[in-house]
Subunit: 146 residues, 2 copies
């Protein structure tokens, strides 16, 4: 186990956490009273990044190695954009991963069963699979879902 990677893991974890917090707090709930929590997360980020910089002058590491090293799940946005998955397709994929049937997904998203089937077909095409379980398995590989 490389210590540099460990420390970098913490810093990246904190950074990603902060970004997620920003997204959630400012775009979804907008509870101003909790802002200081975000600032603390920012502090985490800065400290972590500083430590990471200090410790990795000599060695360069890949991001993949770190994200898997015990940190909370972070979606692989690059793979996501490369695949060209749309917002709705991602939602369907996540619900598929929870084990919901097409009908249940349709009810959850307030659309028809046909729509979910269409999204599913496009999803399978983009992920190059032919069944929902394969899609979930592949999406996990690509870190599109936890």
């Amino acid at each position: 186990m490389n210590r540099n990677i460990i420390i970098y893991g913490v810093s990246l974890g904190a950074l990603l956490t902060f970004l997620k917090w920003i997204e959630y707090e400012f775009l979804v709930r907008a509870h101003a009273s909790d802002i200081y929590m975000g600032l603390l997360a920012l502090l985490f980020t800065v400290l972590g990044l500083w430590m990471g910089r200090k410790l990795t002058r000599k060695e360069t590491i890949t991001v993949e190695k770190v994200v898997y090293a015990g940190m909370p799940f972070q979606k692989n946005e690059q793979a996501l954009s490369e695949l060209g998955l749309s917002r709705r397709e991602c939602e369907v994929l996540e619900l598929m991963a929870e084990g919901l049937s097409n009908q249940e997904i349709a009810d959850r998203l307030f659309v028809s069963l046909h729509t979910i089937k269409t999204h599913g077909a496009n999803l399978f095409l983009k992920l190059q699979v032919s069944r929902r379980t394969q899609a979930v398995s592949r999406a996990k590989e690509l870190r599109l879902i936890p």
Copy 2:
């Protein structure tokens, strides 16, 4: 997305990082000059745990969900024996998680499609689900599969 879980994830991540650092530094390399790095990791840990406590006063979350959200997989043998899954059922479950169809599983295990369906039915009964995707999702929750 639950913010509490995110923050808890960071704090636990930091804690685990710290423990790993301890293990590495004191048991493997023992470089006394780098101790302040460990202290910073400890600071991370304390801050993270404090934030986690502060943010989870109202809601309680299970530790399992967080600790295993990126840790190396270890099969939950206790849950396995409590459910009473047989060896064959476990094999089928694992192959289901890989996204294989019943027919493919049958071919892989050199048995008939009927057998796999029977195993599947028993599996769903024991896991209290009704579809393979749900079974995989549930098995992941119970840490029967990675």
